[in-house]
């Protein structure tokens, strides 16, 4: 049971129940769709980027608690950041979940709640789907990514 508490930390349960920045953005400059065909999780990320800065970010989607919370916390983490900084966060997050435990800056602290997901390899994609989708939106926009 304690491992389950470690995986499903309060902050994750809270973001799952009340996801932040969860709305359709009509004035988005970039969007991307993400899809995990194995489990059916879907997420759409909306971005309003001005002068290389993510001024606004939102999402819509359907997924498990890990996926929903990860997306919600991601939107909070990258809002107001430059595209370059957001990409750096994405890389750090990806490394944390795939085994490379690199030292991270302060702004990374919030994302540490997903460290426990590393112990559940089949769930890593649940946590990273939103980030891959964000990355696609930042790169080209209007494209679809899958975790497969």
């Amino acid at each position: 049971m304690s491992e389950m508490r470690e995986l499903y930390q309060e902050i994750i349960l809270d973001h799952n129940k009340r996801p932040r920045n969860c709305y359709v953005m009509n004035c988005a400059t970039r969007t991307a769709d993400g899809h995990n065909p194995l489990c059916g999780d879907v997420v759409k990320v909306y971005l309003r980027i001005e002068d290389g800065v993510i001024e606004e970010i939102s999402f819509q989607g359907e997924g498990c608690a890990i996926c929903t919370a990860s997306t919600s916390i991601m939107t909070e983490s990258v809002k107001g950041k430059t595209v370059a900084d957001a990409k750096e966060l994405f890389e750090g997050f990806h490394e944390m979940l795939t085994g490379v435990a690199a030292e991270q800056g302060v702004e990374f602290a919030k994302l540490k709640v997903f460290e426990g997901v590393r112990e559940y390899p089949v769930r890593v994609k649940c946590a990273t789907l939103a980030w891959h989708t964000l990355n696609a939106a930042m790169n080209d926009g209007d494209e679809s990514v899958t975790t497969e």
């Binding site: 049971m1 491992e3 389950m4 508490r5 995986l7 499903y8 349960l13 129940k17 194995l38 489990c39 059916g40 999780d41 879907v42 359907e62 997924g63 498990c64 608690a65 890990i66 996926c67 929903t68 559940y120 769930r123 649940c126």
Partner: protein
């Protein structure tokens, strides 16, 4: 046909003795005894199946239908005896009506390709139901697209029963085949396939039955059903993966064009002209999955030894008990409440995604399936993206249902 009914009272299964035959059941997962409730995905294998495959490789390993040497003769006899075992299990008349395949999926593709495709004209229709597995949807979409034909879908009601009046209405002179699942993998519904086949035949339409989820749970008599085609996979009935069988009426097989070309399916080959072997070998190109067929036969013998009536009665009790117990957990909604069901308990829980339930149950040693069960149209029909599915086999126990319910209560504790 009510497959679970029996004139005499069937004795309860001695599950302790039965479980002793399945080595994989005796292990711990995450510090808990394994509770394996993912049998609709695949079943665990009895020692008899493992031994049969092992004996083939230790003693009889040779190619079939060729060499004159002793090992090849033994391998050929074992392979063809396996065909007879499948014939007997399905109550078919003739071993030549059994074609070995890789799986249920390949059986359906074979029929779609060799029987339906050459007969399909633009405007023709293939009729399936709304509860089909992707493997009984996509092969038909492929041939329909190629031939300009239409895939027509019979709707199901809220309980998960096929709406038979719609079925009759949608069966027309444009229908070239009906393809329907015997037991739904996502809902557990046992379809009235015997009646559906009679209805189709009255209009001259042949019928394929997807029996993947039926053969482990109910006695199948293809002559009594009068189906034209019946397909299943070994691994869902305690046999190895990578092997399955297609039953087809002899006259249908004789009408069919080859599926794949190669060795073993020919009589003679020249660069000008090739003549094909008689069915079933016409449809078994290349060296077959010999140990798979032998393992499948061992699995069917094992099930026969226990008795399908006793198995069906045992699983019906488990399903009824599990249904009542799971419904007592707050916030559970069943997906699939047909009157005749087999082995499958599919459900969702308010506010908790099935994948999270699957992970928490796994931490308690309980294996269930969480997802769309390769039946996304079924999920869409019920407005969910996924369900949790507990599916039972002959070796499951009342104690394991208690473990499942305790696991679901833990999910409630975590998610509040």
């Amino acid at each position: 046909m009510n497959p679970t009914a029996s004139a005499t009272v069937t004795p309860a299964l001695d599950t302790e003795r039965i479980r002793a035959d399945f080595p994989a059941l005796h292990q711990e997962v995450n510090g808990h005894p394994l509770v394996y409730l993912d049998n609709a995905a695949t079943t665990q294998k009895p020692q008899a199946v493992i031994d049969a495959v092992r004996t083939f490789y230790e003693r009889d390993c040779a190619n079939v239908h060729r060499g004159v040497h002793r090992l090849s003769q033994r391998a050929t006899v074992a392979y063809e005896q396996a065909r007879t075992t499948v014939k007997n299990y399905l109550h078919a008349n003739d071993s030549r009506e059994i074609v070995f395949t890789r799986s249920t999926t390949e059986g359906i593709n074979l029929v779609a390709s060799s029987f339906v495709r050459p007969r399909l004209e633009p405007g023709d229709e293939v009729l399936i139901s709304a509860m089909e597995h992707h493997s009984n949807i996509v092969p038909w979409q492929l041939v329909c697209e190629e031939r300009g034909a239409r895939l027509v879908v019979v709707p199901i009601d809220d309980d998960g029963d096929i709406i038979l009046s719609e079925y009759e209405r949608l069966l027309t002179d444009r229908t070239k085949i009906v393809a329907v699942v015997h037991v739904s993998n996502a809902l557990g519904t046992v379809n009235p396939v015997r009646e559906m086949i009679a209805t189709a035949h009255a209009k001259g339409v042949p019928v394929l039955v997807d029996g993947a989820q039926a053969v482990p749970h109910l006695a199948v008599d293809v002559c009594d059903l009068d189906c034209d085609f019946y397909v299943f996979s070994a691994h869902k009935v305690y046999g190895p993966t990578g092997i399955g069988a297609l039953y087809a009426k002899r006259n249908r097989l004789l009408e069919m064009t080859p599926y794949q070309g190669g060795g073993d399916m020919i009589l003679s080959v020249t660069f000008d002209r090739t003549t094909y072997a008689e069915p079933p070998h016409r449809f078994e190109a290349g060296t077959p999955n010999i140990e798979g067929a032998i393992g499948l036969a061992a699995a069917l013998d094992h099930v026969d030894g226990i008795g399908l009536d006793a198995i069906a009665a045992h699983e019906s009790r488990l399903l009824a008990d599990a249904t009542a117990a799971v419904l007592a957990v707050p916030g559970i909604r069943l997906i699939g409440t047909a009157r005749h069901k087999a082995s499958v308990l599919s459900f969702v829980m308010d506010g908790v995604h099935p994948h999270d339930i699957g992970t928490i149950l796994d931490s308690e040693g309980i294996a269930v399936r969480a997802g769309h069960h390769c039946a996304q149209p079924v999920m869409a029909r019920y407005g969910v993206s996924a369900t949790v599915r507990a599916s039972f086999a002959l070796y499951n126990t009342a104690h394991e249902i208690d473990a499942l319910v305790a696991g679901l209560q833990k999910v409630r504790e975590v998610f509040g």
